[in-house]
């Protein structure tokens, strides 16, 4: 112990640095070249960090000089922050204000735009928990045919294009929608006001499956032996569940709830489409400000929104790490769903009805709507699409379909190497790696509207550099933007599998004569292939459904995709009061999205981590 080590020529620091360098080089080499990672960084820089940066800079400048004035103006505007704004603007006045508030008999406190957004997100989260938790119970507790399929399907709503879901919800819950048609048969009629209830329902549609997946995955990591131990120690069944299962599931559940809240807080197209400006959330308001070219105000709003969502995302990532993800010898066995009636089975039945209305309803009624005109079966809507195709309209259906597929293939081809290289480079322990990992995942946490505005200002309008005017639009920019939106999902699907590849496997290949790149191809890649395939499916579906960036970057009908065409039909006055053509386009979109998942399911992709 006491022997001192005499440095042999080199300093300890230089030796340590050599070690670090050698390890970093080894990792980077593992994917053939550092190139892939470098390309990823470049793509991110061009289609994400630079454009978003150009927007956010507006929040930190005033009259060309660096300034916090725009942020401060927003923070102290009661329209945005309600009573909090007053408190920030005049801290000394807080006690007086509180006294005045008490004197006035506790009137409702003004919460501002952020308050309302949080309120809406809270409602959406409550809906997701109310629908998602029973679903998790049914999937975790019961065994039945199609259980695995339904479990796989829980991932689908997440990637369904919002514009299509909006059409689905309108055809289902609208005044002349399928729900009223059905209720009409028994003499009822309900007026589902467009606005808050339908937006909350749509947010629930999107996020309840997320809660379900988090909870089911956590429940499957509960070791049945722990429950059995509790039972043998004298705990009745319910106590064993409360003492053993609940504590293990809770961290994952809370992580899921947090994530849902973040998604709800940032939800944009669905809120805009179903709520309009009457239900202005922060994100919708940013969009509206940007449309009026009030960029500094929009930017400062976006910065404050990003601060909130990034803080919540950080908390989520911490909570997620706490959730146990170890594989267990035996998880709790499921009981058959079919059997003598019990409270649980009745609940499952009731739940199935709700799920049917909420999930199958909108999609089925959209398909039905596309096949009817004036109350009778008709192919008129599809005929309209064909006519558009043949005519001079800018939104040609087959062009939109082929564009969508082409862009999606391109986005996947770009997103997969990006995602895999990021997963490899940021895998493992270390603060620096965690930080760079978080930075590279930023596209998930930054407002889609801001990214869209940034793309418009930074790429479409272009920059003057060394006397040249550089502008990036059209298919290349669209593919790059789609890849940026999709690659985090490749990372998230590949990274957990990568972490599970034993170091010794790669070491074995190395000692048998394989170089780092060869060992990666022969040993690591086949083991993470399911994650790569699943990530590719996500990237594909996200590309097919992407709206915000595409509508900014597609200059003309030649690069329209299906969601853009759908939106055009929705707002096309020549179509008249019918949702039909949009529903028909939405049906095509649904078929393509669903097909990509079926294909991957056949290829053996896995959704769950």
């Amino acid at each position: 112990m006491g022997r001192t080590v005499v440095p042999t020529g080199r300093t300890a620091l230089s030796r340590r640095l050599d070690g670090v360098r050698a390890r970093a080089a080894g990792v980077a080499d593992a994917i053939g070249a550092r190139g892939a990672f470098l390309v990823t960084c470049c793509v991110l820089l061009v289609v994400f960090y630079y454009p978003v940066g150009t927007v956010l800079v507006a929040a930190f400048t005033h009259g060309g000089d660096p300034s916090l004035a725009p942020l401060w103006t927003t923070l102290t505007d009661p329209f945005y922050f309600g009573a909090l704004a007053g408190a920030l603007a005049d801290p000394a006045g807080i006690p007086g204000a509180i006294v005045g508030w008490i004197d006035a008999g506790f009137p409702a406190v003004r919460t501002g735009l952020f308050g309302f957004t949080a309120f809406l997100a809270l409602l959406g989260t409550a809906g997701a928990v109310a629908v998602g938790l029973p679903g998790a119970y049914v999937l975790a507790r019961y065994e039945f045919r199609g259980r695995e399929t339904i479990r796989s399907l829980t991932v689908v709503p997440f990637v369904l294009p919002a514009i299509m879901v909006a059409v689905g919800f309108t055809t289902m819950f609208g005044t002349n929608g399928a729900l009223n048609d059905l209720l009409g048969l028994v003499g009822f009629h309900v007026e589902v006001a467009f606005g808050l209830p339908i937006v909350v329902a749509a947010l629930t549609f999107y996020n309840a499956p997320l809660v379900t997946r988090f909870v089911v995955a956590a429940a499957e990591t509960v070791d049945v032996r722990a429950v059995e131990t509790a039972r043998t120690l004298g705990a009745p069944r319910w106590r064993a569940v409360v003492d053993v299962v609940v504590p293990q599931v809770l961290p994952s559940f809370l992580a899921g709830v947090l994530l849902v809240f973040v998604f709800d807080f940032m939800a944009f197209p669905i809120v805009l489409a179903l709520g309009g400006l009457r239900l202005a959330t922060v994100e919708v308001w940013i969009y509206s400000l940007a449309s009026d070219l009030r960029i500094p105000e929009a930017a400062s709003l976006a910065v404050l929104e990003a601060a909130i969502t990034l803080a919540l995302t950080y908390v989520y990532l911490r909570a997620e790490r706490r959730g146990g993800r170890d594989t267990v010898a035996a998880s709790i066995p499921r009981v058959p769903l079919l059997g003598p009636p019990s409270a649980g089975r009745l609940l499952a039945l009731a739940y199935a009805c709700i799920a049917l209305v909420l999930y199958v309803g909108p999609l089925a009624s959209m398909v039905a709507e596309s096949l009817t005109r004036g109350g009778s079966l008709s192919a008129a809507n599809y005929a309209f699409l064909l006519a558009q195709q043949l005519g001079s309209g800018s939104a040609r259906p087959t062009v939109a379909v082929s564009n969508s597929l082409l862009f999606a293939v391109g986005a996947v081809a770009l997103a997969v190497p990006m995602g895999v290289s990021v997963a490899v480079v940021t895998g493992g322990e270390g603060r620096l790696r965690r930080l760079s990992g978080a930075l590279l995942m930023a596209p998930l946490a930054v407002s889609g509207v801001v990214t869209g505005i940034g793309l418009l200002r930074g790429l479409v309008f272009g920059v003057d550099l060394f006397g040249y005017h550089l502008a990036v639009t059209g298919p290349v920019a669209i593919v790059a933007a789609h890849a940026v939106g999709g690659y985090p999902f490749v990372v998230r699907n590949v990274a957990p599998l990568l972490a599970r590849v034993e170091d010794d496997l790669v070491a074995a290949a190395r000692t048998l004569g394989a170089g780092p790149a060869q060992a990666f191809r022969d040993v690591t890649l086949p083991l993470v292939a399911p994650g790569v395939v699943a990530g590719a499916a996500f990237a594909f579906a996200i590309s097919v459904g992407e709206f915000n960036a595409t509508i900014v970057l597609a200059r003309d009908g030649a690069s329209y995709t299906m969601p853009i065409a759908l939106e055009r039909y929705l707002s096309n006055p020549s179509v008249g009061p019918y949702l039909g053509p949009a529903a028909a386009m939405g049906t095509v979109l649904l078929v393509v999205t669903a097909a990509s998942f079926v294909v991957v399911e056949r290829l053996g992709g896995r959704w769950e981590r």
């Binding site: 080590v5 050599d18 010794d504 074995a508 004569g513």
Partner: protein
């Protein structure tokens, strides 16, 4: 191929794994690194394989420094503790993997794989998936895979630790047979001292990142140079005492109130190590009385635990005595270590 490690050091952050390892492995030798977990034996092995880079010191293959030579360019075959079989490849593909980069000098890859599978007694298992094999079979595949490219050095990292006892004994013999047949220089890592004693031509006892002693198993067992080695290899009763006055060709060690005669010249603070099998109720020398605390039946005799004035003493006896018993040992049998 001979191996030499000279002053090899390795640290992970603040934790030092190797504090200067010096050892030489002769050509064709079965050399074992043995020590408790965390002693640095696996790190040493990985430095030889090129999977770890030493912070200081040199690893030499036949006198050539291999620093900076990546593992794929060192002619080593490694068998990992948990097999590390490629799960996406069949048994045949696993064994053939190294031959992709180093095709056999004569004959086809297929013939070589078949030959190797025969060598480890796995004929006809070619198309199985590693998952479908038992632990022992997986270990045989791992061995065949490591040997297929005819490496100059075979490195074995606790290859038997994941197997049950009977299988372990069986495979140990087989490993030794294969090694002898091929004459490949072999470094074997284990924490199991009885395994180390059984298989090695020579062994090195490692403790806390340093080499405690190197030698042939019998020599190290019978003449441990440190108290750690004495206690780690086999069982030992290590009694701290003082060596006083010389007798003719020997010394006297006082442990508590009792004096023991030992051979050799010793002075001052010493530890007197007596193996359990050296203690005997019929011994004529160095007799002392101790209380029987417990006795375990081992089949060929008993391991008897004594309480000697508060000191635990273990003896291997043919019968299980009770009560207070007089035992002793021959002066030749004790190993005296300076403290």
């Amino acid at each position: 191929m001979s191996l030499e490690l000279a002053g090899v050091e390795r640290a992970y952050g603040d934790a030092t794994a190797l504090r200067g390892i010096d050892l030489t492995v002769r050509d064709g030798e079965f050399f074992t690194l043995v020590g408790p977990s965390g002693c640095g034996k696996t790190t040493t092995l990985r430095c030889i394989a090129g999977l770890e880079t030493p912070d200081a010191g040199a690893v030499r293959f036949d006198g050539t420094d291999v620093s900076g030579v990546p593992p794929e360019e060192r002619d080593v075959g490694v068998v990992f503790q948990h097999y590390a079989l490629f799960p996406t490849m069949t048994v045949r593909e696993n064994v053939a993997y190294g031959l992709r980069f180093d095709p056999p000098a004569e004959g086809s890859v297929d013939d070589r794989v078949t030959e190797l599978l025969a060598l480890v007694d796995l004929k006809g298992m070619d198309e199985r998936d590693p998952d479908a094999l038992s632990g022992g079979q997986r270990q045989r595949v791992a061995l065949a895979r490591a040997l297929a490219p005819a490496p100059d050095v075979l490195l074995l990292d606790e290859p038997l630790s994941a197997l049950d006892a009977r299988l372990r004994d069986e495979l140990r013999l087989e490993l030794k047979r294969v090694q002898r047949e091929l004459g490949v220089t072999t470094v074997y890592v284990t924490h199991d001292q009885s395994e180390a004693l059984a298989v090695s031509d020579r062994l090195a006892v490692l403790n806390d990142g340093r080499v405690e002693q190197i030698g042939e198993p019998e020599a190290v067992y019978e003449n441990p140079e440190t108290r750690f080695v004495a206690a780690f290899l086999g069982e030992n009763n290590c009694l701290d005492g003082r060596a006083v006055g010389g007798e003719t060709r020997g010394s006297t060690v006082r442990v508590g109130d009792t004096s023991f005669a030992v051979t050799g010249e010793h002075r001052g603070a010493v530890t007197c190590c007596v193996r359990p099998e050296s203690l005997d109720v019929n011994a004529t020398h160095n007799r002392f009385e101790a209380d029987v605390a417990d006795a375990e039946f081992l089949g060929d005799g008993y391991r008897v635990h004594f309480d000697w004035n508060g000191r635990p003493i273990i003896a291997r006896l043919d019968d299980a005595p009770t009560g207070r018993v007089t035992i002793g040992f021959d002066p030749d049998e004790a190993v005296v270590l300076e403290r």
